[in-house]
Structure formats: structure tokens, C-alpha cells
Symmetry: C2
Subunit: 350 residues, 2 copies
């Protein structure tokens, strides 16, 4: 065990405050990582506020982690001290079920181990995330940051990026495909960038006319205002794929209407009840309403490599750890373009 300094919360109402906690000692297949940057995800605040009624306090959030290897266990061969590495939303899984063997560890049939708030697979205590100076992670769940990918920008790829990448790849976004990204936030802005880089014809679907210029700057070919009934009607039956990043409960019918033949709408943001939807909207055009949850380790590594090669970089605002409570408040009111990244050097300086 080793002492680790970071920021966490002790109850649903408490702000993030500095705290010291224990990290496990290095197992033979573990990698110890000095954290350089950690992205700030909506989930961090949801979990801290116990919105899902399953939070184990004290909670140290953070699952968009990049840094450098400081030590490796005796059985680790893929990593060496000094390597630039990353950790996303998962730090362990059974590695034996069909999902794990199929490269979808996030769907592990035994339940994957989340980077924070999960019971450690070997039993004692809960995992703690990346709002901290270092972390110890099983080698199979550590990613390599490719040369040419700025560490700062790698962080948001680990959750926001892979959440969009996984359905874009699963449903074959690429040249000749019309892809709509619903909602322009942390997820949506990565969706636009990635879909455009994959060669798809990309439409940003938003309620905010003010976001149109930004969406185009990110790579959107078109902007569709979802509260413009005429525009929505004119866009019916047009899309092959929609990825819906809206973070709260909402009617999906207006979006389903946009899907053409065999079109798929993927929910990635709203973990909530979908209001009644008429089955006729699914029968028509043979549409599907699907869900997607982050992505597997190999897919995440593929994303990092794609982003390095194509220089697809999240738009980030770098903050010191001490400003995290303000950042969370701004994130809640969507006052961020488009992702906060904590500069962990600030932690050491404090």
C-alpha cells in the first residue's frame, strides 16, 4: 500500500476537497502511473452527488487519465518506466467471458471494474480515480499514448472519445454515410470531430442557433435545429446514424423520424427513462434504437492511434486541481467548450 494525495468527496453534498488515501501495492501484473492530466466527465459529478444511489464515500473521481509509468510489476512486459500511458473508465474485468474475449470488457458478464467507486476485484476497498497524483492499474487495462498525441488532449478521448467512437465504428460511419450528432457538449463535440475524420457527412443537431458556427468549425457539414419544425420535417428519412448525447430524459420520436432505411439511433447520454415511443416509428424504414456504453480496451487503443494519426484532438480547457469545484459548476450549466482537463502538476505544487 502507498499513500496517495488527491481530491475527493466525503458525502453527496460535500465539495471536492484535498484528501490522502491508500493505493494498493503493485501486483505482478500492475502498472504504477504518475498522473499528468485527468479529464473531467459529467459522470464524475453524478457519482459524487450519488445520483445513481450507489456511491461509496470517500469518492475520488476521474476516469480520463494520462501520465507516465513509474513502476511495473514483475510480470509486466508491455510497459516500461517512463512510457506515456492512459487509463479510461475500466481498470479490470474477468477477461474470460465472451464479452471480454470479444474485446468488449466494458460489457464483462461478471461486471467490469470501474476506475472509481467499484469494489476492487481482489477484494479490499473501492477503486479510486484520477483526481490524484498517481494510480495503480492492471496492465491489460493500461493504454499506450502514441507518439504525436499531446497528453493533454489524450485525456478526454478515454471516456468522451471512446463513447462516440464505439458506435461510430459499430455502425460503420464513413464515406457516403449521413451521421447526425445530437447535442453539442463534451460527447457531441468529439462525435462531430470523429465522424468527420472518418469521412462521414456530419450534421450537428442542436436546439441552439448559437452553436452553429462552432459546430461547423468542429467539422460539421450541416447544422439542424431540432426546434425548427420545418427543418426537422425536411430532414426526415435522411440519416443513416444518429448518436444522441442529450444527457437527460427526452422524447426520441423527433429524432427517429430523421432516420432513413435501416437507420440506427444510438443513445449514449441519457441514462433515464425514454418517454413512450410509437412502434410504428421503428417499423417504418426498419429503424433501430440502440444503446452504447463506452468501449473496449482494444477499441480505445485504436481510437488513440486514429487520433494521433489524424490529429483529432478534443477542445479542452486546462485547469488546476484547485479550481475543480468551479469547473464542476460550469460543467453543470454547460459553460465549457468542451472538456475540462485537470493539470495534475498543480496538485504537486499545492
Amino acid at each position: 500500500m502507498s499513500q496517495c494525495f488527491g481530491y475527493g468527496v466525503t458525502s453527496a453534498d460535500a465539495p471536492l476537497t484535498p484528501m490522502t488515501f491508500e493505493r494498493r501495492a503493485l501486483n505482478e501484473d500492475d502498472v504504477a502511473i504518475a498522473i499528468a492530466y485527468c479529464g473531467v466527465c459529467h459522470s464524475d459529478a453524478h457519482q459524487a452527488h450519488n445520483d445513481w444511489h450507489n456511491t461509496n464515500y470517500p469518492l475520488v473521481p476521474g476516469h480520463e487519465i494520462v501520465g507516465h509509468v513509474t513502476a511495473v510489476g514483475s510480470a509486466v512486459t508491455a510497459f516500461a518506466v517512463g512510457d506515456a500511458v492512459a487509463v479510461g473508465c475500466l481498470v479490470d474485468s474477468c477477461l474470460r467471458c465472451a464479452a471480454c474475449e470479444g474485446g468488449e470488457e466494458q460489457l464483462c458478464e461478471k461486471g467490469p471494474t470501474g476506475t472509481y467507486n467499484a469494489r476492487e476485484r481482489n477484494g479490499d476497498g473501492f477503486t479510486r480515480g484520477g483526481y490524484a497524483e498517481h494510480i495503480v492499474v492492471r496492465d491489460r487495462f493500461v493504454l499506450k499514448v502514441p507518439d504525436g498525441l499531446d497528453l493533454r488532449y489524450a485525456a478526454p478521448l478515454l471516456c468522451a472519445g471512446i463513447t462516440m467512437w464505439s458506435p461510430l465504428r459499430r455502425f460503420h460511419a464513413g464515406p457516403g454515410k449521413r451521421v447526425g450528432i445530437v447535442g453539442l457538449g463534451g460527447l457531441g463535440h468529439m462525435g462531430v470531430k470523429l465522424a468527420a475524420a472518418l469521412g462521414a457527412e456530419v450534421t450537428m443537431i442542436t436546439t441552439s442557433p448559437s452553436k452553429a458556427a462552432d459546430a461547423r468549425a468542429l467539422g460539421a457539414d450541416h447544422v439542424l435545429l431540432s426546434n425548427d419544425r420545418d427543418a426537422m420535417k425536411a430532414s426526415r428519412n435522411r440519416f443513416d446514424l444518429l448518436i444522441d448525447t442529450i444527457p437527460n430524459a427526452h422524447d426520441v420520436a423527433p429524432y427517429l423520424n430523421l432516420l432513413g432505411r435501416n437507420g440506427v439511433m444510438v443513445m449514449v447520454g441519457a441514462i433515464d427513462f425514454i418517454p413512450p415511443v410509437h412502434a410504428g416509428l421503428l417499423l417504418q424504414n426498419h429503424r433501430s434504437l440502440a444503446g452504447s456504453a463506452i468501449g473496449g480496451i482494444a477499441a480505445t487503443q485504436g481510437l488513440l492511434e486514429f487520433c494521433a494519426e489524424h490529429q483529432v484532438l478534443p477542445q479542452c480547457e486546462l485547469i488546476p486541481m484547485q479550481e475543480i469545484n468551479t469547473a464542476w459548476e460550469r460543467m453543470q450549466r454547460n459553460d465549457i467548450k468542451y472538456r475540462f482537463v485537470i493539470d495534475m502538476a498543480s496538485l504537486k505544487a499545492a
Copy 2:
């Protein structure tokens, strides 16, 4: 124009009664068919009762039609007098849009022409269906009944059969796939037979223990009682494909829970609102909720050939035309195993 004798309804409350109506004269690409058998579909009664608020009276129902060619237009090359042929739910479409060119005429972007209650594509009057002595249909929408397929059994394949066949093929039902058919009626019994013939591991999912033996006789490997909470829980995450034939509005959550990784649930029966469903059920296991509507002409021809080759035959009860009102009443209370087929010889005898 020619006079045609059949059975139809004149208002939402009226029973089916004998009537004479006009059929269009043979166009150069038309085929005239003497109807030998016509299957009885739930849609026939829905349309007659104006359940969808769009019925044009007088209505002559029937879209599971088999018979023999009596005449062909001057440009028809694929059919000759005497051929055994069939007509399903469609008698025309634009044949130019991406859906038609992709072999999914039922999803025609201009709107397909239904076999009854649709405006004739060339303008005058409405289409009238197969509860009649003959029908005139554009050659591209006429199917060949393969040698070895008993005409009586071909009829229910044209709607019930293709409705199940299309999603079974689209979602790759076959060896190694676990397929669940929800509901044992006209559609469900075809689903079990077809999925079994395709080599899938088939489960009948029903509320009725009394249907277990029948389901196994039809080819189901397993029967799962959807009101047995323990059995449903034990079957979670198990299925690759579910086809839901329940004909009225119902909660889909208990069925979504049964789907494993990348599993798909297809709605084919209930053209109604789906009660609120939690998006988490879709995110988990990357599930999809899809819809499917009958199938294209080429797919329907493929189904007829598959059924001839594998002798996959619907279980039918043959009735004379004069018993149609009783048959509809029995169909409404699900007192039929599993499809009524009208023997049109009875019409001529009357």
C-alpha cells in the same frame, strides 16, 4: 374493367357480405390471377373496423393470395397462363427509389401500394384484396409458387411468413444463434418454424403454459413463460434475437433484459405506443430495439423457395368464404391454430 365477386365491408360496424366490384382492365405489365386461396390476417379485421382511421369503404380485404394466372398483359414475360402464383401485401411501388432498388419495396420512399385500401398508383379508385374470385396485379409484384409447395400452405407465407422471415434473415438467425419468438399466434408459429428451419436454437416466449407442447411440436427447443419471474431472470442476457409478435401495447423491458451482447429485439406485431423504457437497458449489452414491416418482393420469393425446399408449412384451418365472419371472431379471441385460409372454390359454389 371487369366485374369481380367477393366479400367486403361497407362500414366499420358492418359484417363481411358478398359484393360485386370492378377490377381494372389488364395493363401491359399486369397479370390476372384466379384466386384459389386467401389467408386471413389480423390486419384484415383492423382495416375493416377502421382501427387505423384510414379505411376507404367498401373494403375488400385479403393480402395472402395464391392462385393461377388466367391472362397476362402484352409486356409480361415472366408469367404465363396456368402458372401457380402468389401476391402478398404489396401490389405496386415506385421501383425507382433507393428502397425499391434495394429490394425493400415495402419501404418505398414514395409509399408502397398496399394490396387493399390503397389508392391505385394510376389514379382511379382503391385497391381491393383477395377475398374475391380474381385479382389483377403488376407483374413485378407477382410471386411464383415453387413446385412442391402446396398452394393452401403458401397463402400465410405472404404476410405472416415474410413478416418473420425478413428480421430472421436481417439479423442472421441460424446455427449458433439463440432466437426467441415472443407470442404464439399466426406470426409466432411461423417464427418458430422458420427459425428452427434456419438452424437457430429457438425459444417460444409466452404467457400460456398450455402452449408449451404446441410450441415444441412446431420446432421450439425451449419454452420460456414470461410471467415466471424466476425463469425470466435465469434467462437474462441469453438471446441474440427476439422477435416480438404481441399484437398490442406492452412493456418491452422484461424482454430487453433477455438480450445478450449486441442482441436485437424486433417489434413486428404491436403498432402502438411502447411504454417508457429505461435507456440503461439499451446501453447494457449494447442492445437494440428495432422494427420490421413485412418484406420485399425478392425476399418473399426467397421465402417461398425456402419453404418449398424445407417443407416449412404454416398450420392452417381451411374455411369456406361464407364462414369468414365467424373466422374473424375466432381470430379476435385467438381461437385458431394458427391461420385461417379461405378456400375460394367456396365462393364460386355459392
